[in-house]
């Protein structure tokens, strides 16, 4: 299923390679600390721009008593599948305003799908395993991605034009870069660097307390 999803994304990327602009975003915190898991969403300033079709399917797996990925960036209207890879059951919930839901105790045999139709941050937890934590960033913009461990993300195949580039991070504090404007030219690569402020203690999924037993 994952492999399938990846192939799908790559096909989409190759499709509109001609006359496309490239946006390279890097996110740092403090003194050049590469910030991974930062969600970058790109909003065209002109509604006339022909944006690539958003990917409207994503996966938030539960594996080894952890969510994977920790941060999932999706566009509005994306249906996220919550496959349980563990041999025991999970009960995933969200009290976040964009999407309140609860997936009652389910095992590997159950396929749960949730449609995220409102923009916002959805914090995910598991009623059974307190350590499990994940975020789904539901972007109102069609183009959304997240930085890798080196804090970089590259958007290719964007039509030239003006854009708002937004950054979000689960540990983000006020006072850092929030949004930047950029004009992309055809066949050119533009760089945007965000410097964000993060809380000193990062939110992350702890390994399960009873791991190893």
């Amino acid at each position: 299923m994952v492999r399938f999803f990846l192939i799908l994304v790559l096909c989409c990327a190759f499709r509109s390679v001609a006359s496309a602009a490239e946006l390279r975003v890097s996110v740092t915190a403090g003194s050049d600390e590469a910030v991974g898991n930062a969600v970058i969403s790109v909003k065209p300033l002109s509604p006339n721009l022909e944006m690539p079709e958003p990917v409207n399917a994503a996966v938030m797996a539960q594996q080894n008593t952890m969510f994977a990925p920790f941060v999932l960036a999706v566009a509005v209207g994306t249906e996220v599948t919550f496959p349980n890879m563990d041999e025991f059951r999970h009960q995933v919930y969200s009290f976040s305003k964009p999407k309140r839901f609860e997936l009652r105790l389910y095992g590997q045999d159950t396929t749960n799908k949730i449609m995220f139709d409102k923009p916002g941050v959805v914090a995910l937890g598991c009623n059974i395993h307190d350590n499990m934590l994940a975020f789904i960033y539901v972007s109102e913009h069609p183009v959304v991605g997240k930085t890798d461990e080196s804090g970089d993300v590259v958007f290719s195949n964007l039509p030239p034009g003006g854009y708002e580039v937004h950054v979000w991070h689960p540990d983000e504090l006020r006072g850092g870069d929030d949004m930047k404007m950029v004009t992309l030219r055809a066949d050119e690569a533009s760089d945007i660097a965000f410097s964000v402020k993060l809380r000193p203690v990062r939110r992350q999924q702890q390994p399960p307390a009873d791991e190893g037993y």
Binding site: Y93, S94, F95, S96, R100, A123, L124, G125, C126, N127, D130, M132, L133, P170, R199, V201, R203
Partner: protein, 776 residues
């Protein structure tokens, strides 16, 4: 510097030492007790503070545990995240607050909007905004707790996040630190400490949030004594208190909130009050004991010392008495023993000295001093008695034939015989005389006779049979004198008389004694007379038979006193000899004689002068030098001066007399024996004398014309003298017949009234000229 008695000194020293020691003990005691008490209080306060912290921790744990439970409740979380379900949230909160007994509970959302709040009955509360740091801490650790002051009350606030799964809201539970809490902790403390909760308000002042007692007083106290130090002591409510400040603020708190635990040091010291009383009691008791002890000790020293001092005073007064040693073995006893030894030694020595003082060391008989004392005593107790003085005769003569120790032994024998005869205590009054007292005056004459008779028996002294004679003088008390001195003087006077009477003893005769006193005053007059020229020489010429010329004149002293008139030499010379005034007379006489010779020589007269020497002159070894000086002074040849000495003068101490005579003879002076025939008249001793002439006493010459006996004596004496190579002079030549016979006998020189009376020098010169006796 004032002088203190030993007792006072000792007491002062002891007192000072005692006070110093007590002071040090008291100081040490006070310091250690207060320090100890402070330490104990501090420990107790510290322990209570830890208990308090523990209690708080427990409460926080309880609160946070409960809050956590609530925050994890799915239904509760659901309700919180459901904007339409606030009633459920509030009711759940109320339920938990009641269950925990918390004083307040509230929930805020991420934007600090109050979602719900419930308080204890009757409390109106304003929910305190939750600080970001606390939220952060709570999110990280699950919960956070902090002291907060809300409206003058202090709360222990516990905050937990409501996780969904990230924090979506904050639950806060508050438990007030009030009197109840304080009393609870107070109840857990072993000491009755007091607790107060204070906080710093916006102006930095310390305010009181709760206290176990004395709220008002504490408020005032805090205003004056901001509790800054962790441990401090201060006056509170009139008592010294020890304070322990337990800071209750959590990390990064804005306002300082503390619990004050305190306890009165004075109260803690109260159990020691009886000890202080006991100490004061010991001090007073110790002082009394010490004073009485030092008095006893010092008395143990001063009393025997005083006794010794008193004894010493008594000894000064002559009363020898031993002192009892108080206690055996101590220094005072040693001193007393030494003192007693000293007393007996002094006593012994004194009695020895006394014995020596009161006894004659030659014979061991009581001496004159003791006899005087005895006499004093007898005068005091007897109505009448008789004192007899016995004098041994011719002692000088005895001395010349016996040695010194023999004379001493003789005296001992004499004393013993007297004692035997008189049957009473004998004292040696002088070298030659003894004395004793007869209580029965009627026996006096009998005893005197017995004594005289007893001397008829010779004394045997070391094999030498000695015939000694005694003369006695008797005085009776009270008739002859009222006191010792007078009695003894009169006894001497009686002795003087006794010497002359046939029976050898005499009673004191007041009439004859008067001349004695007269003679004494005469001597002082003589001394004056010598200076004033009252004394002169008369010169009696000595006719040289062979040449018919006058070669020498004998200088005879003539004293014409302005008060007494002419004083015969026999009246004053013996007394002058006895009083020593003869010295002055000799001095004068030698000078006058030599001056006269010099005068005659200047006038062309070669006349020598003969001067009589007395016994004491012969005893004077300075005499030859004296004469030599005079001879030189007046340039007179030694041959012109003749010296005449009597036999008895020489015999008094022949050895000494010989010394002087030999020197005089060596000087070239002519020496004559005067009054030859009246004394020993022993030619054997004359042989030893460096004399060149003997003068036959006038008593033999005066009756030469009538007495055949005297003729024989004079003739044989002249012959004897010539045989010894001596010139012979006859004195007292008073008639022509005597002159004729003396010439027949071969007498060398004639002297007497028949030739000339003693006449003044000027008359002599005339007499020589007219009689054709001049020599050149």
């Amino acid at each position: 510097m004032p002088k203190f008695k030993f007792q006072t000194k000792l007491t002062i020293v002891y007192l000072a030492l005692f006070l110093v020691v007590m002071g040090v003990i008291a100081l040490f005691f006070y310091r250690s007790v207060t320090q100890n008490v402070r330490d104990q209080i501090q420990n107790q306060l510290g322990a209570s503070a830890r208990t308090f912290e523990r209690i708080l921790d427990d409460r926080v744990e309880k609160l946070s545990g409960s809050a956590l439970l609530l925050s994890r409740d799915y239904g509760f979380r659901d309700a919180i995240n459901n904007p339409d379900d606030q009633a459920t949230v509030t009711s759940a909160l109320r339920n938990h607050r009641a269950r925990l007994g918390a004083d307040l509970a509230y929930i805020v959302d991420l934007d600090d909007e109050l979602l719900a709040s419930v308080g204890a009955e009757g409390t109106t509360l304003t929910a305190a905004p939750i600080p970001d740091a606390m939220k952060m801490e709570a999110e990280e650790n699950g919960s956070a707790s902090r002291m907060v002051e809300i409206g003058g009350r202090v709360y222990e606030l516990v905050v937990v996040p409501v996780l969904a799964p990230i924090p979506t809201a904050w639950i806060a539970f508050g438990m007030e630190l009030d009197e109840v809490t304080a009393l609870e902790i107070k109840g857990l403390s072993p000491i009755d400490l007091e607790i107060a909760f204070v906080y710093q308000n916006d102006r930095g002042e310390y305010s009181l949030a709760g206290a176990t007692s004395e709220r008002a007083a504490l408020e005032a106290f805090l205003a004056d004594n901001p509790p800054v130090d962790p441990v401090f002591s201060a006056q509170f409510n009139g008592q010294d208190h020890l304070f322990w400040r337990l800071p209750l603020h959590a990390v990064g708190s804005e306002a300082e909130i503390s619990a004050l635990l305190y306890y009165s040091i004075d109260v803690a010291l109260e159990p020691f009050d009886p000890l202080v009383v006991a100490m004061v009691g010991i001090l007073i008791g110790g002082l009394l004991l010490l004073i009485s002890g030092s008095v006893i000790v010092s008395r143990g020293v001063t009393r025997p010392l005083r006794r010794l001092a008193d004894a010493a005073q008594r000894i000064i007064a002559g009363e020898y008495q031993e002192v009892d040693a108080p206690i055996e073995g101590d220094e005072v006893a040693d001193l007393t023993m030494s003192f007693n030894q000293m007393v007996s030694a002094v006593q012994e020595r004194e009695s020895k000295i006394r014995f020596q003082a009161f006894h004659d060391n030659e014979t061991g008989f009581p001496n004159r001093l003791m006899f005087e004392e005895m006499l004093d005593e007898t005068i005091g107790k007897s109505e009448s008695f008789v004192v007899i003085v016995a004098e041994v005769q011719q002692v000088p003569e005895l001395r010349s034939v016996l040695n010194h120790s023999n004379v001493n032994d003789l005296m001992v024998c004499v004393g013993e015989r007297l004692q035997q005869v008189a049957d009473t205590g004998i004292a040696r009054l002088s070298t030659e005389s003894f004395a004793f007292i007869l209580e029965d005056a009627s026996e006096a004459e009998t005893v005197a006779s017995l004594v005289m008779n007893s001397f008829l028996t010779p004394f045997d002294v070391a094999g030498i049979i000695i015939d000694a004679r005694a003369k006695l003088g008797l005085v009776k008390y009270p008739g002859d004198g009222e006191d010792t001195a007078l009695l003894l003087r009169h006894a001497n006077a009686a002795l003087d008389k006794g010497r002359t009477v046939q029976k050898g003893y005499a009673w004191y005769d007041p009439d004859s004694d008067k001349s004695q006193t007269r003679r004494l005053s005469m001597m002082s007059e003589l001394r004056v007379g010598l200076k004033n020229g009252e004394v002169r020489f008369a010169y009696q010429p000595k006719l040289d038979v062979a040449t018919g010329k006058i070669m020498t004149a004998e200088a005879l002293v003539r004293w014409i006193s302005p008060t007494r008139g002419f004083v015969p030499p026999d009246d004053f010379i013996p007394h002058a000899e006895r009083t020593g005034d003869i010295r002055h007379l000799t001095e004068w006489g030698l000078r006058a004689a030599i001056m006269q010779v010099a005068d005659w020589r200047s006038k062309g007269l070669g006349l020598g002068v003969a001067v009589n020497l007395s016994t004491s002159d012969l005893m004077n070894p300075g005499l030859p030098g004296q004469i030599l000086v005079l001879l030189k002074e007046f340039d007179v040849p030694a041959g012109s001066l003749k010296l005449e000495v009597t036999e008895s003068a020489v015999m008094h101490d022949m050895e000494r007399a010989l010394e002087v005579l030999n020197m005089l003879a060596a000087m070239g002076l002519t020496l004559s024996i005067d009054d030859y025939g009246t004394g020993y008249s022993s030619l054997s001793y004359i042989k030893r004398l460096p004399v060149s002439e003997i003068k036959i006493d006038k008593s033999f010459v005066m009756n030469l014309a009538k007495s055949e006996e005297d003729n024989i004596l004079v003739r044989s004496t002249i012959e004897l003298g010539h045989n010894l190579g001596l010139k012979v002079t006859a004195e007292g030549v008073e008639d022509e017949e005597s002159v004729r016979r003396l010439k027949d006998f071969g007498c060398d020189t004639l002297q007497g009234y028949h030739i000339s009376r003693p006449i003044p020098a000027s008359e002599l010169e005339k007499f020589l000229k007219e009689g054709g006796y001049e020599t050149v």
